[in-house]
């Protein structure tokens, strides 16, 4: 296993009290594996990643029983330790590429500084490598883009630059937090294909966060469904998609508009209810207010993640053939 996380929880200290953003979650990512993480806003999917990188704001309280990265212990509260692995061992690309790059520094500068931060090389060598990387991620006229400012680039191109920067130091794990949500649909496929390509080529592990099940299905080996700061279900992508056990997963699958199944005539399905606010969490199972299968035990006891290759946290899981 490349990454092993046991009982990671994140709380935020606010004026309205302690808010639990991430209930203790445990999961792992294997070498060269793509883990897709699906969930709505507030599910905790982004918080998990930010916690892993140590990029949460100062009022965040992170606790974990065990974090093993590359078989070494990792203290998520030590900025010193994290800085050593950020960028070089674990890299991250963010949702909105237009705001993720510094507007007053050129693309080239931002790429070179990443390289020189982790490798002891001269500016010229760094420039050569950077140009090579830009070409690899599909940016034509790399020389011209090198001296450009981020606002001169389109969304798709900016994201390619971000990807180039992220892989420039050969990280073992790449965290892609909704990398295509802010981009046109036509560009989405290009970017994701590129990511998958790079992943295979560099034997990188990847955590691919998205709210779009269809994308996750296509691009990840395993998938993890999160809801309200907990893991609802996880397992091999095809298994989970074909045989979901958790009602929430089932709801997500059902809610997809389908162009094939004569869907134009049917009305879109939406899971009734809303995601609970962090300030007013329901008791027991977090999903029970929206679940048609909930009973008393669901109201009182929060189900634990159980299962072997396919895990789920539900008192009344779906039994699908």
């Amino acid at each position: 296993m490349l990454l092993e996380i046991e009982d990671l929880s994140v709380k935020f200290k606010t004026d309205s009290g302690m808010l639990e953003a991430l209930r203790p979650v445990s999961f792992s990512v294997a070498e060269s594996e793509v883990l897709g993480v699906v969930g709505e806003s507030g599910s905790g999917k982004s918080v998990t990643n930010l916690a892993l990188m140590g990029l949460l704001p100062a009022n965040a309280q992170i606790t974990a029983k065990k974090i093993l990265f590359n078989r070494k212990n990792l203290d998520l509260n030590s900025q010193k330790e994290l800085r050593k692995i950020r960028g070089s061992q674990i890299a991250m690309i963010f949702q909105d590429p237009m705001t993720a790059l510094n507007p007053s520094l050129t693309v080239g500068y931002q790429m070179i500084e990443t390289l020189r931060c982790h490798f002891d090389i001269s500016k010229d060598v760094a420039k050569k490598r950077a140009l090579g990387l830009l070409e690899r991620v599909g940016i034509a006229q790399a020389e011209k883009r090198f001296t450009a400012y981020p606002f001169e680039l389109s969304g798709g191109m900016s994201q390619r630059v971000m990807i180039a920067m992220a892989i420039s130091c050969h990280p073992k794990l790449l965290i892609a937090d909704e990398p295509t949500t802010a981009l046109d649909v036509t560009i989405q496929k290009q970017i994701l294909d590129l990511l998958l390509d790079l992943q295979k080529e560099n034997k990188m592990s990847m955590i691919f966060v998205s709210h779009d099940l269809a994308l996750v299905r296509k691009y990840s080996h395993r998938v993890q469904v999160m809801y309200a700061g907990e893991i609802a279900e996880s397992g091999r992508t095809e298994d989970v998609i074909q045989h979901p056990h958790h009602p929430y997963t089932f709801g997500l699958l059902k809610a997809r508009p389908s162009a094939h199944e004569g869907g134009a005539k049917e009305s879109l399905y939406a899971i009734p209810g809303v995601v609970p606010s962090l300030k007013a969490r329901p008791t027991g199972c977090q999903f029970h207010p929206r679940c048609s299968r909930s009973t008393d035990v669901c109201v009182n006891v929060d189900p634990k993640l159980t299962g072997t290759s396919q895990k789920f946290a539900c008192h009344h899981p779906l039994e699908t053939p």
């Binding site: 935020f12 606010t14 004026d15 309205s16 808010l19 009022n59």
Partner: protein, 287 residues
């Protein structure tokens, strides 16, 4: 409206700076209101043989808490009455600038076109000159004196209010509730005063507090330059100017009025700042 003030008081209480400012302001207001009762002497009363006595001196049956000045007047009494002058100055400046400024801002923002152009140019113009300089020029034309100083400082404070209200009006003008009001036939005046103005209250209060402190400071500056309140009016700035030559021998004559100015200005700045932080909608939603 009641909810607005309820929320306002809650915001003030949350922000310690604003609270401190408010408390100080209340203290000064009480001192000013009860000055005649609290001061042992009249502000221009000369006590025989009590020239430039340091604070805490006892002379015969007279006790001078803050000492006396070069003419023999009790400094404590003068400072107390001075608080009346300063608070009056601040209040006048804010009332004048806020009312005229709000009116002009409303007109400029709502009607646009030439009205806006003329008013905005005039305001840009006043802002082009630094405050004290402009005030000095106005006083040069009108002649020295406390009233003229207040007028001058009010004119200098105008643009802040005008621009503020104008910006608010422009933001609100195109909102749906205004358009709805127009649809059911509300007159311009009604829309201005009943719909738009209440939404301008929050920044207006903040600016009012800050304008108060600016007003007191500017008037004191004019007094210091000999262009504001004239002797024997116990204005703190004028008192400072008179005390200058006695800096070495009787420093309390200089320090005490200065500290008073500092405290009053500070308290209004604290309140204004605290209110601004509390009322900033962006900060409100930050966890």
């Amino acid at each position: 409206m009641k909810d607005f003030f309820l929320e306002l008081s809650r915001d003030i209480r949350k922000n310690k700076g604003a609270l401190a400012g408010l408390v100080l302001i209340l203290v000064f207001m009480l001192l000013a209101i009860f000055a005649p009762l609290l001061s042992p002497y009249a502000p221009d009363q000369v006590i025989e043989g009590a020239l430039r006595l340091p604070p805490g001196t006892q002379l015969n049956n007279n006790f001078f808490l803050f000492g006396t000045d070069d003419i023999g007047r009790d400094l404590f009494s003068r400072l107390l009455y001075g608080s009346r002058v300063s608070l009056l100055v601040g209040l006048s400046v804010v009332v004048l600038a806020a009312s005229l400024g709000t009116l002009m801002g409303l007109l400029a923002g709502y009607f646009g076109g030439w009205t806006d152009r003329v008013i905005s140019r005039a305001m840009d113009f006043i802002m082009a000159l630094p405050s004290v300089l402009f005030a000095i020029v106005i006083v040069a034309v009108l002649g020295p004196g406390l009233v003229n100083a207040i007028v001058a400082v009010s004119i200098v404070a105008l643009p802040n209010f005008t621009r503020l209200i104008r910006a608010q009006v422009l933001a609100e003008k195109n909102k749906q509730y205004v358009q709805a009001a127009r649809l059911y036939g509300a007159s311009h005046l009604r829309i201005l005063f009943k719909e738009i103005l209440p939404n301008c209250l929050a920044p207006l209060i903040v600016q009012g507090s800050l304008g108060f402190s600016d007003g007191v400071l500017n008037c004191a500056a004019l007094g210091f330059l000999g262009l504001g309140a004239q002797a024997p009016t116990p204005e703190w700035g004028t008192m400072l100017s008179d005390a200058r030559s006695f800096l070495e021998t009787s420093p309390w004559m200089v320090n005490l009025p200065g500290i008073c100015i500092l405290l009053v200005v500070l308290s209004f700045n604290l309140l204004g700042d605290g209110l601004r932080d509390a009322l900033d909608p962006r900060l409100k939603n930050r966890a």
